[in-house]
Structures are given as C-alpha cells and as structure tokens.
C-alpha cells in the first residue's frame, strides 16, 4: 500500500508515532500539512500542525514545534477550523513555551486554551488543559492560583478514566497540599498517583511522584524514609538516561542535600546542595539557585554539627548521582557549542532502544544502549572537533584523523565512572563496521559487541535524516534504502533488517482509520 491521500498520511504518521518512530512520523505529517495548505484546507492545516508539533515534541525539538503552532494559530481564525483543534493548538503552544521556560507566555496560551474549551472540547482535552494550567501555576509558584486548576484537573481526569492523566493531576494537587501544610492529603494523593502510574508507566513520572513523596516524608522529619524514596527515584531514572533531564538530577541532588541537612550531616549536605546550585545557576533559574544558596549558607553557618546524626547514603546511589551530574553537565557544555548535539544523542539513543527492543535484547544490553547512546560522542570534547557528525561520514571512514579518536577517548572518559562494561564497549565500538573497515579497533562481524552494532544502525539513520546540517536531510525513505544497501557490508545485516521491519507499519495503519 502506497499512501496517497491526506487521510493516509495522517494515519501513517500516527502509526509511526505510536511505534516510537518520530522521524518517519515527521515526514508523513509534513506531507499532510503541505497538501492541506496547497488545498486551502484550514482545518486540515491546523490538525496537521498539531500532529507535527507532537512529533517534534516527542524528540524535544521545541523550537520547531513552536514554529508549526504559531503558523497553525494564525490560520485557526478560519471558521472552518473546529474549536477542539483550536484548543489543541493553544494547549500545544502553552506546552512548548512551558518546556522552554517561558512561563508568562505559557500561562497566557493555557488560559486562552481554557477559554476556547467552552466552545467545545472533550472531557479528556479539558482535563489536559487544566493539568497544564495547574503545572504552569506551580512552576510560577502561584500557589493560591494553582489550587483551583489542580482540583478541576483531578475531577475532570477522574471522569476520563485515563490513569496517566489522573496521576499527573493528583501529583500537582499533592504539591499544593504540601505547600499548604496538608501533608496527609499530599501523601494520599501521591500514593494514589504512584499506584495509577504503575509498573508499566513512564519512569520519569514514577521518579517525579517518588521525589515529591520524599519531600512529604522529609516535612514530617522522616529523613531515612525520604532517603529511601530518593534512591528509588534514582533507580527509576537510571534506566531511562536516554531522556533524562539534568533538572531531574538536580532535583534529586537538592533532595539529598535537604535530607542530609535534616540529619545534621553538614559535609554531605554541602556536596548535594552545591551540585543543585551549580545546575540552577547554569540553567539561569535564579529563584531556585537563590533558594538552594540560602540553604547552603544556613548549613555552612552551623558550627557544631553533631556527628551522631550522620546520614548513610548508599555508595551505589552516591556513585550514580555523581556520574549523572558530571556526564550530563559535560554533555550540556558541548551543547553550548552546538545546541543540537543533545538532540542528536537523544534521537540516536531513542532509535537504538527501539531497535534493541525489537531484537529482544536482554535488560543489561538495553541499559548499555541507553547510556552508550546518550554519551556515545562524549569523546569529541577532548579531541576538539565540531561535535556534530557530518552526513558524508555516516557511511564511510572519515578523512580527519581526529574523528578517528573520539570513540576511544569517549571510552576512556566513561571508564572513570562505575559503569557496566557493556556501556564502555558500546561507546568504543559504535564506529566499527561489519566488514572490518571501521574504527578504532577494526573489529568485524560478531566480534563487534551486539549493542554497538545496534547503535551504529541508529546513528547512521539519524545522521542521514535529522536536519542538523547545513545541507538538507535525506528523506526517511531514502535513508532506509541506504541502510538496506549497507546491510552486510557496513552494518550488521540482522540489526539493519530489523530496523527496516520496524518501519513497516502497514498493518497498524490498516487496523485503524
């Protein structure tokens, strides 16, 4: 089936997105949007723009998401655009603004979305708008104004029966409870949120609930319980390093600092609070920085801290937090030279994990893909290269001798941390070729670690398709053809074949719409 109609492209893009294949979804939605524009179909244009923004957001490209939505909202005045699609465009815009820290504009867009809801919106959409509104109010520390949307979001979300939505609504309400000293209500809401997120839920959601619950316990003076919850939150984040935000690590550092401070462990408190402060300063969040700085000042001012209250943070937890803080801040520094490098790394990791899951790899290899993917180009910081890979180097040996060094350097840098050997091997071998013509060690065939062979396929695909270069990206279909051609020469034929099958979504499309 070759999709030709607008409906097909919408269904095709949605099927790709459901399978976690955002690049192919972007291609399909872009074509849908172009056709709608050419046909003067304002409603189709707004719908396609919303879909495209969701695909961009799934890869955290909020700049592009925002550009789509601004064009959509300019077209949304057309009477042919259903109110529901206008609500969606405004909600999506509020989300892109929120995610890039523009809270004033985000609040404005969310309030407009809520006003438009009155013209027509499903209960699910209304709940999504209220959850977002409460989240923005809380981020702005407008606790009084946060309570009404937090409660409305809970009531609306409960009526929809959507567990992820209910858990987020409850999370925000719990934060309002905690702020107002209602610790028991906060605890009840968070326990329910955790139950709703469940074992299959997103790790970031679970970690968020656990961190907040730790704050509740801390408020009650239960430092040890708070520490255990913080450790569980870190465990939840450890496996999802692919999408881990430094801010989550900073939140945990702050929590450990607060716990240590409550337990009168001065040295430990200084270490963790200082790390959180460094992140908040670097990301320009001065209110959070000032708050942590004041705590730090208070801890430093204590002269005779009793030794008996020393806190026992497990060594593994400490090592993991240390590793994540250091590596994420290092990759953030590289991103300051080339802001889109972070997107490159997270896309490669995302696709490597999807491919690893399709191949049925065991959990330790998936963990190696997750960490190896996120930091596979970290070695470039030492060899003083432009950090982004060049499209022409995707399928052949590069001329630049310095490029040949980066997998080895990355391996040596990561070896300084207590990481599983599989992660190090993955980073070192991600430029080896199946035919033995790769670098740095010239390994061939199955002598190359399986995770590195999987990562290589994902890396080639992203270097070809993602628009990070001055020259235009390859269309998704053409990149797949090149991967098919390289199977058995540059790339592992099993991994390349599985990657091609992953994109065969015809059955999904026919099953719906």
């Amino acid at each position: 089936m070759t999709p030709t109609t607008i409906g097909d492209k919408r269904a095709l893009g949605a099927a790709y997105l459901r399978r976690g294949l955002p690049i192919a979804a972007l291609d399909a939605f872009s074509a849908w949007r172009r056709e709608a524009r050419a046909a003067g179909d304002a409603a189709g244009f707004v719908k396609a723009s919303n879909a495209l923004s969701a695909a961009y957001a799934s890869i955290r490209d909020y700049e592009n998401a925002r550009a789509q939505l601004e064009a959509a909202l300019a077209a949304a005045a057309d009477a042919a655009v259903p109110p529901e699609d206008r609500v969606k465009a405004r909600l999506n815009l509020a989300l892109t603004l929120y995610q890039t820290g523009q809270l004033d504009a985000a609040l404005g867009a969310a309030l407009e979305a809520w006003e438009t809801c009155g013209l027509g919106a499903t209960p699910t959409l209304a709940a999504q708008v209220q959850v977002t509104l409460a989240g923005i109010r809380i981020a702005r520390e407008e606790w009084g104004a946060a309570e009404a949307p937090a409660r409305a979001a809970c009531a609306l979300a409960e009526a929809t029966g959507s567990a992820p939505l209910r858990s987020r609504a409850l999370h925000n309400l719990a934060m309002v409870h905690l702020q107002n000293g209602r610790t028991e209500d906060a605890e009840d809401a968070l326990l329910e949120a955790l139950r709703l997120t469940g074992a299959a839920g997103r790790a970031a959601d679970t970690a968020s609930h656990l961190t907040e619950l730790a704050h509740v316990r801390l408020r009650r003076g239960e430092a040890q319980a708070a520490l255990e919850l913080g450790t569980r939150a870190l465990d939840a984040l450890w496996g999802s390093v692919a999408v881990l935000d430094e801010a989550e690590v900073a939140r945990l550092s702050r929590l450990f600092g607060l716990v240590a401070s409550a337990a009168d462990d001065r040295e430990e408190a200084i270490v963790w609070l200082n790390r959180a402060a460094a992140y908040y300063a670097q990301s320009g969040r001065m209110a959070a920085w000032k708050e942590v700085g004041e705590l730090l000042g208070e801890v430093l001012g204590r002269r005779h801290a009793p030794r008996a209250g020393r806190l026992h943070i497990p060594a593994g937890t400490r090592d993991r937090l240390h590793y994540l803080t250091t590596l994420l801040s290092l990759s953030d520094s590289i991103s300051s030279v080339q802001p889109r490098l972070g997107l490159h790394a997270s896309l490669v990791t995302h696709y490597a994990l999807r491919l690893g899951e399709a191949l049925g790899l065991p959990p330790d290899e998936l963990l190696a893909l997750s960490h190896g993917g996120r930091f596979h180009d970290i070695g470039k910081i030492v060899v003083a290269l432009p950090p982004l890979p060049r499209r022409e180097d995707a399928l052949r040996r590069p001329d630049d001798e310095r490029v040949l060094l980066h997998p080895r350097t990355g391996h040596e840098m990561l070896a300084m941390f207590p990481l599983p050997a599989g992660v190090l091997a993955t980073v070192r071998a991600h430029h080896e070729r199946w035919d033995g013509a790769g670098y740095p060690d010239g390994l061939a065939g199955e002598a190359i670690p399986r995770t590195a062979r999987v990562l290589a396929v994902a890396n080639v695909y992203i270097v070809l398709t993602y628009d990070i270069h001055p020259n235009p990206a390859y269309p998704h279909e053409e990149a797949l053809r090149l991967i098919a051609r390289e199977a058995g020469t540059g790339l592992d034929p099993v991994a390349a074949g599985a990657f091609l099958r992953l994109h065969d979504v015809e059955t999904d499309v026919e099953g719906r719409d």
Partner: protein
C-alpha cells in the same frame, strides 16, 4: 561575625560560579527545560 563572613564568602563563591557557568552554558532559549525546579507535571502534546 564568623558566620557573617562565611555567608559573604559563600555568596561570592556562588556569584563567581554562576557567572562562569552562565557564560559557558547554552543560551536559555535554546535549552529545553522539561522539568521545573519545584517539579510540577503537565499534559502530553495532543493532536
């Protein structure tokens, strides 16, 4: 007095650290801040 000095030294160190880090970090508008410091949650994108 000692306490006051310690606070002043800390404020200076933080100020220095912040200045150095801000200069080194990516421009704020290019950074995606998916998690806010006090940790609220929002909805997913919809279409």
């Amino acid at each position: 007095m000692k306490r006051l000095l310690a606070s002043a030294a800390l404020a200076f160190a933080l100020w220095l650290g912040a200045g150095a880090s801000v200069a080194w970090a990516a421009p704020a508008h290019l950074k995606a801040h998916t998690i806010h410091p006090n940790g609220p949650m929002v909805s997913d994108f919809v279409f």
